[in-house]
C-alpha cells in the first residue's frame, strides 16, 4: 500500500511545483501575494511593531498631525492612528479569512449534494441559492447585524451565510460535468460509497474554481465588514479599519489623516486578495494553460 501513497504524494508535489511555475508568471499575482503576506505579518507582529494600543486615549495631543512619534497622527481622543491601523489588520484579516472559509465549505457541501444527487434536492437547493443571489447582500448583512447585535462573531456568521451561493453553483456545475466520467464510474464499480465518491473522487477535481472564488470572497468580506463598521454596525469594542473611518467621518476637514490611512489599508488588503484571485484564475484555468 505504501507505493501508491508515495506516488500520489510525489504527484502532488509536482502539481504544486507546476502550479507555482505558472502563478509566478503573473507579476500582479506576486504583488498581491506580497501585499497579503505583508499584512498578515503586520497583524501577527502588531504588538511588537507599535508601543501604543489602539484604544489607549491621550497618547498625545488630540488631532496631532502625522509625525515621528505618531506616524499616522492622532485622533480626537488622542489615540494613535498607526497602532489602530496595525491592530485593525487583525480584525479585517480574521473576518475575511473566517467568512471566506466558512462560506466556501457551506458552498462546497450544498453544491456537491445538489450536483451529485440531482433531482428534487438539486431543485430545492438551487432555488434557495437563487433567492440568496437576488437579495442585496450588503443590505441584508446590515439588517442582520443591526438586529442580532454587532459582534465580530455575528459579522462572520452573517457574511458566511450570505456568500455561499456563488461557490455552491460553481461546485454543482463541476459535479454535473464530472459525475459521469470514467474515473467516477470506475470507483463506483469498485463499490465505493457516495461519500467516498463525492469527497475523494470528484471534489479534488472540482476545486480549482472554488479556490479562485474563495480568494475573491476574502476581499469582498473585508469590504463588507468595513462598510458595516463604517455605518456604526461593527463591533464597537474592537478597533477595525471600518470603525476608524466611522470615527474619522466627523473630522474629515480637520484631521483627514484619521480617514486616509485606515482606508488605504482596506484598499490594499482588498486589492491584494483580488490580485491573487486574478492570478489564480490564470494559473488554474485549464483553458488558458497553454498560453
Amino acid at each position: 500500500m505504501t507505493a501508491p501513497v508515495r506516488q500520489s504524494k510525489h504527484r502532488a508535489v509536482r502539481a504544486l511545483r507546476e502550479f507555482w511555475r505558472r502563478y509566478r508568471k503573473s507579476r500582479s499575482g506576486l504583488v498581491g501575494l506580497a501585499l497579503v503576506c505583508g499584512l498578515v505579518l503586520l497583524a501577527l507582529l502588531a504588538g511588537a511593531i507599535t508601543s501604543f494600543t489602539p484604544l489607549e486615549t491621550k497618547t498625545g495631543v488630540p488631532f496631532e498631525r502625522p509625525g515621528t512619534v505618531h506616524y499616522f497622527g492622532t485622533d480626537d481622543l488622542g489615540r494613535d492612528v498607526f497602532s489602530g491601523v496595525i491592530f485593525g489588520a487583525r480584525v479585517s484579516l480574521a473576518v475575511g479569512f473566517l467568512a471566506a472559509i466558512t462560506a466556501t465549505n457551506i458552498g462546497i457541501l450544498i453544491g456537491a449534494l445538489a450536483g451529485y444527487f440531482g433531482g428534487w434536492l438539486d431543485d430545492l437547493l438551487m432555488r434557495i441559492a437563487e433567492m440568496f443571489m437576488v437579495v442585496p447582500v450588503f443590505v441584508l448583512a446590515l439588517l442582520l447585524v443591526a438586529l442580532f447585535g454587532p459582534s465580530i462573531g455575528n459579522v462572520v456568521i452573517v457574511l458566511s451565510v450570505l456568500s455561499w451561493p456563488g461557490t455552491a453553483r460553481l461546485v454543482r456545475a463541476e459535479f454535473l460535468s464530472l459525475k459521469h466520467r470514467d474515473f467516477v464510474e470506475a470507483a463506483r464499480s469498485l463499490s465505493a460509497g457516495h461519500l467516498d465518491i463525492i469527497f475523494s473522487e470528484i471534489l479534488p477535481n472540482a476545486l480549482a474554481p472554488v479556490i479562485i472564488t474563495a480568494s475573491l470572497q476574502v476581499a469582498s468580506a473585508i469590504l463588507i465588514e468595513a462598510g458595516l463598521s463604517f455605518l456604526g454596525f461593527g463591533d464597537p469594542n474592537t478597533v477595525s479599519w471600518g470603525l476608524m473611518l466611522y470615527w474619522a467621518q466627523k473630522f474629515i476637514r480637520h484631521a483627514p489623516w484619521m480617514a486616509i490611512f485606515p482606508g488605504l489599508a482596506i484598499s490594499l488588503a482588498t486589492l491584494g486578495f483580488n490580485l491573487i484571485g486574478d492570478a489564480l484564475n490564470d494559473a488554474l484555468n485549464p483553458r488558458l494553460k497553454e498560453r
Partner: protein, 326 residues
Amino acid sequence: MSLLRFTVRRVLQAAPLLVGVIVLNFIIIHMAPGDPVLVIAGEYGTTPEYLAMMRAKMGLDKPLHVQLLVYLKTTLTGDLGHSFVWNQSVLKIILEFVPATLLLMGASLILSVLIGIPLGVWASRKPYSLADNAITTLCLAGYSIPVFWFGLMSILLFSVHLRWLPTQGMKTIASSLTGAANLLDIARHLVLPASVLALAQLALVARLARASMLEVMSLDFITTAWSKGLGERRVIFRHGLRNALLPLVTVIGLQIGYMFGGAILTETVFAWPGLGRLMLRALSTRDYPLIMGMFIVITALIILANLITDIAYAMLDPRVRYGKKK
C-alpha cells in the same frame, strides 16, 4: 417561443422568488431579540393596556404562522403596513425616498457604461500592451477601494481643497430655486456621489467589456471583416462591439443588487436623502414594519431589474428564446 410567452414564463419564475424573500424577512425579524412593541411604545411612557393594544394592532398576539400568512396576504396586495415611528403608511414613506436613490443609481449606471465600455474596448485592442495593463490594473484598484472611503477622499479633494462641488444633500439648503435653476442645483449635488458610486461598477464593466471583446474579436466573422479590408473603427464598433455588448447586458442587470449596498454607503457619506438613509434611520429606531417593507421593496426592485434585463436580452438575441437557458 414568442417573446410574449418568454416574458410570461420569466414573470412566473420570478413570483415565487418574491414570496420566498418575504418569508425570509419575516423569519429574520422574528428571530431577532427584542420586543418591537416595547421599542416603539417606549417613547410614549407605557401602560400595560397600551402595550396590549399595540400588540393587537400589530398582530403580535397571534401565533407566528398566522402572523406570517396575514403578512404574506397583505404584503402581496401592496399593503406594507404602518410605521408607528412615523405614524404613516410604510409604502408611502418608502415611495417618498425611492426617487432620490433611483436618480443616484441611474446616474452612476449611465456613467459606468459610458466610461467603462470605451475603456474595455480600448484595452482589448492590444491585449497585454501598456494601455491594456494600465486599464486592467486601474480596474482592479477601482473595485478594491471601499466606496465610502473613496467618497470621503473625493469630498476632501473636490469640496474642501478645490471647492468645486457641494458635499452634502441633494439641494442647496434654504434656497427656493425653481425650474432649470433647481435642476442645475440638483445636478451639481449629484456629480460627486454618482461618480463615487460609479467607480466599482465602471471597473467591472470595463473588465467584462474587455473580456467579451477579446472573445468576439477572435471569431471568424471578424477575420472576414478584416480581410474585406474594412477599417479598424468599423470592425471594432460595427462588427465587434455590437456582439460583445450582449453578455454585458446580463451582468449589468445582475449588478443592480450589489449597487444598492454601495448606494447606502454613498448616501451616508453625502447625506443623500434616499433609501439608504431611510434604512439607517429605520434600523436605529427598530422600526420593524418599515425595515421589512424597505427590504421587500428593494428586493422587488432588484427582481424587476433582473426581469427587464432578461427580457431585453431575449429581444436583442432571439437565440435565448429558443435555447435551453434555464
